[in-house]
């Protein structure tokens, strides 16, 4: 099992977050932690998610980065990119 954290920026569009979570589940990555917040201009959603799986990081990174509205995907150290007080918290599924 490997565990890693992804930072994703996606255009605020119908179902954007659900689409990313759907790809994550379908590709057999378990979600452990998720924070998401709208950027100040309101155009994007910044998502930080920690997942674990038996599969390589790149399997998920490549699948998320090809989604139409995703502009950025990076593997990061947890807690790096989104400050906790600004982030809306979701319960992990």
């Amino acid at each position: 099992m490997i565990k890693f954290t992804l930072q994703v920026r996606v255009k605020q569009s119908e179902g954007a977050l659900v689409r990313i979570l759907g790809v994550t589940r379908r590709r057999r990555f378990d979600l452990l932690h998720l924070t998401a917040d709208t950027t100040e201009d309101g155009h994007f959603l910044d998502i930080q998610m920690t997942v674990q799986a038996d599969r390589a990081e790149n399997t998920l990174v490549r699948q998320i980065e090809k989604l139409e509205d995703v502009s950025q995907v990076e593997v990061v150290d947890p807690g790096d990119a989104v400050s906790e007080h600004r982030a809306a918290r979701f319960t992990a599924c």
Binding site: E14, G15, R19, G22, T59, E65, E68
Partner: protein, 556 residues
């Protein structure tokens, strides 16, 4: 102008000629707008057939197929066809009516969340929220559907948005240029090719979709690397080409599978290491390094690590990689000799029609440009094995999803695209019943599709697996209570005739091809006919089972 008129006008701007669909409550504004459009609407008899016909149209033409349905059950009936297009990377735009925005989320009559339902099987999707954004959505949908690795895009259109009056704003969404492979990857790939003494090209459906047939053939002509094909890669080289070793995988040729299992370099071109092609993955091409050419970065190293990924436009990459490889001559001779040695045996005992032999004769006589749409099962594999293809767009087959019922609607889509082409639907007695209602569509538009219905009174592929891998414990595969298919066809205005002796095959093919309109040949075959060879589930492609070997095991 109303939103629905925006939609139709934007479709016209995209050059749409045909829409396959079925009307209903929430989509009625669009059907109203279609009355004033030059776009031709094809009324199918089940929405699934609309999506599959749009898919067949897209596969045969390379253009984006368009299908349309109302909200609720109309939309859910499209889902199998959308998933079919997604799995085989077929460009499609699916338009669904939706209940009015004020009713969305209230469990209104014929409301389903089709946006949510289809999310796993679309390349992208849109929910229209204003009328003015509709032209932009339509143009983006077409761009996304056909760019890069193609796929289906859904547009969900609430009825009130379709009825909103606003001013039309034209948007032009030009196609993206696909990035070219890096110079570094090309250099590394050429170095690997030059080191190799036993290379094989593994040709997939991506070659046809990238419109890279010329570049692929030039690449093979220069390098002289032997080629194995996936189900969807058949026709990338003409079947009769000396370097075409045939289909690989579960029902592939001995020559193709042996070449892959013994090669030292696998050049994968627009394919995705599907389990039906690779057999047991960790035993697949065990001695080979891999060069993987694909436009979709996510496919590279997904299942088999690529030593050299070549990501980007296939046309460019194939041109850049074409180089002479003098070291491979002995290997090339070994492969072509094996191909000449292991030819198909069309002699079978008995007097019943032998499907492989029927298809070989049909292929020989249907002409070089015949288009074959098949369903799913044994007959699908026999088509892949025994029909000759000069280009992939002649072979319409549901590869990734394996959708029984694909063939007849796909043939309808192809025949509408090419009204004077010889379009053949090869089906089975299981599959034909999945979209049998479309015989009425054939009649309605008088489409001269030739249907070859192989009937073994069973779900043959499942029966075959139960025979070989489940100790002959036959479970729910008997179809001996099939209807009289000739009478069914005739009741829908389609001439039909029965063939039950191999002595009649030649005249049956004459009659089939001479019929000016639609026609169905009901061909009875042996109930226990199997597809050979076969690689058993979980087995390596080195462990192919051949008919005579299985017969010997039984005798022991």
């Amino acid at each position: 102008m109303k939103g629905a008129e925006f939609l139709v006008k934007a479709l016209e701007h995209e050059g749409v000629e045909l829409i396959f669909g079925y009307p209903g409550g929430a989509i009625m504004p669009v059907y109203d707008a279609l009355l004033d459009s030059k776009i031709r609407h094809i009324l199918v008899r089940h929405e699934q057939a609309a999506a599959l016909a749009a898919d067949g149209y897209a596969r045969a033409t390379g253009k984006v197929g368009v299908c349309m349905a109302t909200s609720g059950p109309g939309a859910t009936n499209l889902v199998t066809g959308i998933a079919n297009a997604y799995m085989d990377s077929v460009p499609m735009v699916a338009i669904t009516g939706q209940v009015s925005t004020a009713l969305m989320g209230t469990d209104a009559f014929q409301e389903v969340d089709i946006f949510g339902i289809t999310m796993p099987v679309v390349k992208h999707s849109f929910l229209a929220k204003t009328a003015t954004e509709l032209p932009r959505i339509v143009h983006e949908a077409f761009r996304i559907a056909r760019s890069g690795r193609p796929g289906p895009v859904l547009i969900d259109l609430p009825k009130d948005i379709a009825n909103t009056v606003a001013a039309y704003e034209f948007h032009d969404d030009t196609n993206e240029q696909i990035a070219e492979a890096s110079a570094e990857s090309i250099t590394r790939a050429i170095a690997l090719m030059r080191e190799s003494s036993k290379p094989v090209v593994y040709a997939g459906g991506g070659i046809g979709m990238a419109n890279a047939l010329d570049e692929f053939r030039a690449f093979i002509a220069t390098t002289r690397i032997p080629v194995v094909a996936t189900l969807k890669g058949l026709g990338a080289l003409p079947t009769t080409h000396e370097l075409a070793l045939g289909m690989m995988g579960m029902h592939g040729t001995k020559t193709a599978n042996h070449a892959v299992q013994t090669c030292d370099l696998l050049v994968c071109v627009g394919a995705r290491f599907d389990d039906r092609a690779t057999g047991r993955l960790n035993a697949f091409a065990p001695n080979a390094k891999v060069i993987h050419l694909d436009v979709d970065r996510a496919e590279v190293s997904k299942l088999r690590r690529a030593d050299v990924p070549v990501i980007g436009n296939l046309r460019y990459a194939l041109k850049a990689l074409a180089c002479k490889l003098p070291n491979i001559e002995p290997w090339r001779r070994e492969c072509t000799t094996a191909k000449e040695t292991h030819t198909w045996d069309y002699d079978a005992p008995g007097t019943e029609v032998y499907a492989p032999s029927f298809l070989k004769s049909l292929s020989d006589r249907a002409g070089d440009d015949a288009i074959v749409a098949c369903d799913v099962g044994q007959h699908q594999m026999w088509v892949a094995q025994h029909f000759h293809f000069n280009r992939p767009s002649q072979h319409l087959s549901s590869g990734g999803l394996g959708t029984m019922g694909f063939g007849l609607p796909a043939a309808i889509g192809a025949q509408l695209a090419f009204p004077s082409a010889c379009v053949i639907n090869v089906s089975g007695d299981g599959s034909i019943m999945m979209n049998l209602q479309e015989l009425a569509t054939l009649r309605r538009y008088d489409l001269p599709v030739k249907i070859v219905l192989f009937d073994n009174r069973a779900l043959g592929m499942v029966r075959q697996w139960q025979e070989l891998f489940h100790d002959k414990r036959y479970s729910e595969v008997d179809l001996s209570d099939n209807p009289d298919f000739c009478r069914v066809a005739e009741s829908m205005g389609i001439p039909a005739f029965r063939v039950d002796d191999r002595a009649e095959v030649s005249s049956a093919i004459d009659r089939l091809l001479a019929e000016p309109g639609p026609v169905l040949a009901h061909v009875l075959i042996h109930q226990e006919a199997n597809v050979w060879p076969i690689v058993g589930p979980g087995r390596s492609n080195s462990e192919m089972l051949h008919q005579h070997e299985v017969a010997r095991e039984v005798t022991r």
